[in-house]
Each structure stands twice: as C-alpha cells, then as structure tokens.
Symmetry: none
Subunit: 241 residues, 2 copies
C-alpha cells in the first residue's frame, strides 16, 4: 500500500495540466488533476494526496485563497505555481501556508526537484479535505437535501431546521471528519469571520444538537473539541435516485 507519491495538479489550463501530468508520471509519480477548487476538493477526498501543485491564478478563483483555506483544514504540502514573480507575491504565498513556490514559465526539472525537496520534509499525516457531493447526501441514516433545504430523519420524518441551523449542518456535511473552528464555521455559514470572540456558533450548536442528536448531552454526530471547535464524525455519501 506504500507506493509512489500521489500528486494533485490544480490548474485551469488543460494543456499545462496535461504537460505536468505526463511529465510527473514519466518520473514515477501517481498524478491526479483538477481544473478548479471544487474538483480539487473532490480529488482530495477521493485519493490520498501527498502533495498539491496549485496554480496561483485561475479565472473566478484565487489560488492563494484556495491555498489558505486548504491549509486551514489540511496539512498537505502545497507548491504554488504562478506567473507573478514579484517578491511580495512570493512572500504572501509562503505566508499563506504554501511550502514552496515556482514561477511560470518553469523548467520541469526544477518543479520535479522542488517536489522531491518538499516531499522529503513532509512526513505528516494527511488529513482528508471536505466532501462536496451532489444535491442530496446521507449520513448516519439522515438524508439532507441541499436544494430543498430539508432534512429527513432515519425514521423518515421531516425535521424542521431554521436557516441558521441548516447552514451550520451543511457546513459540517461539506467538511466531514475535520475539526472546524468557530471562526471557520462563521466563515462558512455567514461568510464572515468573528471580529471579536463570539458565542453565536455555540448557541446554534446547542439548538442543532437538540434536533439531530439522540442524546444532546452525549453527542455522537458532532463532537466538541476543546480549544479548537467541533467535528462532524459520520461518513457522508451521495444519494442517487
């Protein structure tokens, strides 16, 4: 089970993706590729990725932002790929959590060398990133419909959730088995971060748990991690029909 390193290449330009993919495969790596952030997330869930090569600029998305978000939930090594060569850009990339930085146009041999250098140092536990599935997903017997915004219990009853509770649950379902901080949850549900420290997430958690946990005093679906936040523990699978 311990075969060659698994690299994920994220770039919107198909030619570049294919070029890098072929080159890396020829050098003994397993390679996945993705054209945008969503595909990247999917690939991270599907495969056990050892390193991400991420384009800094993609239409409609910011590679830097992806990098920072990825670093929040995972410690997968990241190499940023970019056209911009200014010093400040490099610094920002590294501060955002990237492990290294290669400017386009690049010599494939240099990319290879940097991948080797980063992998040599990177021995840490890969953490699964979020699962973005389809319209409906199932977890622990519950079925959640993201479009209709309703939730069906294992017994088949429709469970009434307020908007806030629903958004919170969606955030968890989209990031299962990862500890999420209150700040991340605020960001995911309200699109903002806490300015000062804030207990509103705690309140929503209490309310959500009352509705979906068998025993809210001993929660099984969403556990608390002191000093960190919360973690959603069930497996999430898409519902086909």
């Amino acid at each position: 089970m311990n075969s060659s390193p698994h690299i994920l290449v994220v770039d919107d330009d198909r030619e570049i993706r294919d070029l890098i993919t072929r080159f890396l495969k020829k050098n003994g790596y397993r390679v996945e590729s993705a054209a945008n952030g969503r595909e990247m997330q999917a690939a991270l869930v599907a495969a056990n990725i050892d390193l991400v090569v991420l384009d800094r600029v993609m239409p409609g998305e910011d590679g830097l932002e992806l990098c920072r978000n990825l670093r929040k939930e995972s410690r997968v090594p990241i190499i940023l790929l970019t056209l911009l060569g200014s010093d400040t850009d490099r610094v920002v990339g590294l501060e955002m959590g990237a492990d290294d930085y290669v400017t386009k146009p690049f010599n494939p041999q240099e990319l290879l060398a940097r991948i080797k250098a980063v992998l040599r140092r990177a021995n840490e536990l890969p953490v699964k990133a979020s699962a973005r599935a389809g319209r409906r997903v199932r977890f622990a017997g519950w079925v959640l419909d993201r479009v209709a915004r309703d939730l069906t219990s294992p017994e088949g009853a429709l469970t009434e959730l307020t908007d806030g509770e629903f958004d919170l649950l969606v955030a968890f379902v989209e990031h299962p088995q990862i500890a999420l901080t209150r700040d991340q949850l605020l960001d995911l549900t309200r699109g903002r971060s806490a300015i000062a420290f804030d207990r509103s997430i705690d309140m929503q958690m209490t309310r959500l748990r009352r509705k979906i946990e068998r025993d809210p005093d001993q929660p099984e679906l969403i556990k608390t991690i002191r000093n960190k936040g919360y973690i959603f523990t069930p497996d999430v699978t898409p519902v086909e029909d």
Copy 2:
C-alpha cells in the same frame, strides 16, 4: 529549554553577512556567521545549528560542493543563496541536498519566509506508515477512533477521555516506539512549543495513565524516560472494516 532557532550564515562577502545577520537577529533568531568552508565547519561543531544559509559562489570554493559534503554528514537544513538564476543551477542545488534556494538580490522578507517554511518542515516528526492511514487504529487490544474521538478498551467498553488526554494519546499513537520530549508533545497536541519549561504534559500523562494503564504506578503502554520524555511501546496497526 527550547530557545530561538540558530542560523548559520556562510558568505564570503562581509557586507552581505552583516546585513543578513542583523536582519535575522532583529527577527528573533540567533545567528552565527562564517566566511568560508572551514569557518562553517567550526561553527557547526561549536554551536547547535538549526539551519544553514549558504552562498552558492565563493572565491576558491564551491558552495554546491560544500552543500553536498555537508549533506553527507548531517541533515541540517540548507538554504542556498546565489546570483545565478538559471534553471539548471536551481535544479542542481536542490538535487545536491539543499532544502531551498534564494536568488540574489533577494527580498529579506522572502528569505525569512523561506527560513520559516524550511524550519517548519525540518522540525516535524516522521510519522510511521502504520499510523498514517486509517481513521481507526488498534494497539494492545485498545481501539482508537481518531474522528469520533473515542477509545474502546480491550474488554469492549468505551473509555471516556477528555480532549487533552485524547490529543496526547493520538500523538503517541502516531509516533509509536520513539521517545518524545515534552516539547515535541506540546507541539503535537497544542501546536506550540514550551516557552519556558512546563509541567502540563506531566499532568496530562498522569490523567491519561490513570485511564488506560492497568497499573498506573507501573505503566506498560507509555513509559517514562528520565531526562528525555515518554515513549509509547505497543505496536499500532490500522483497523479495517
């Protein structure tokens, strides 16, 4: 016990040495400097160097050669500094064992960011393959679920652990059969190092042992190593199901 990282700057140009030295010191590092290979060796012997910043070109000596020789006898992280910017030179540098590469003229902030990135990697502990994979692992009959954050005893009973105890146990399970210092454990569990010496790990150890050791007075799973730290002795295997 654990003070600021110790950087060795090797460059024949005194102005550059002083510039880098002052800049790094201002940013909280301890700095040594050397003008040639011999002084470098002397400094490495005299002080406990955490990272070497090494000039690629020095009169009468080749930084690359120094780098390769250094790598033969030591795993100290190396950042190469150079005027040459051609791709092949970069590749050669990284192949020679350098961890990173900065071209002159460089932005001091970038050097700083790269030093941070390299040190972050260098100080991480290798993770055993056995512990990498699964959500659940078994050791000495116990089963630990890292996502659900619970622990089942050999008798099948659920053992209640607090978050701090659980994090500590996870750190051990991910690094079995290696002596871990208190500082490493703090880093693994809290993501920080001890500023001053700290007994909090000892307390958590007491509490954890009370819950998982048959006889806490004569621990079998986690042994104390005087003047070092603790070691987790059982084998760890993934649980498939």
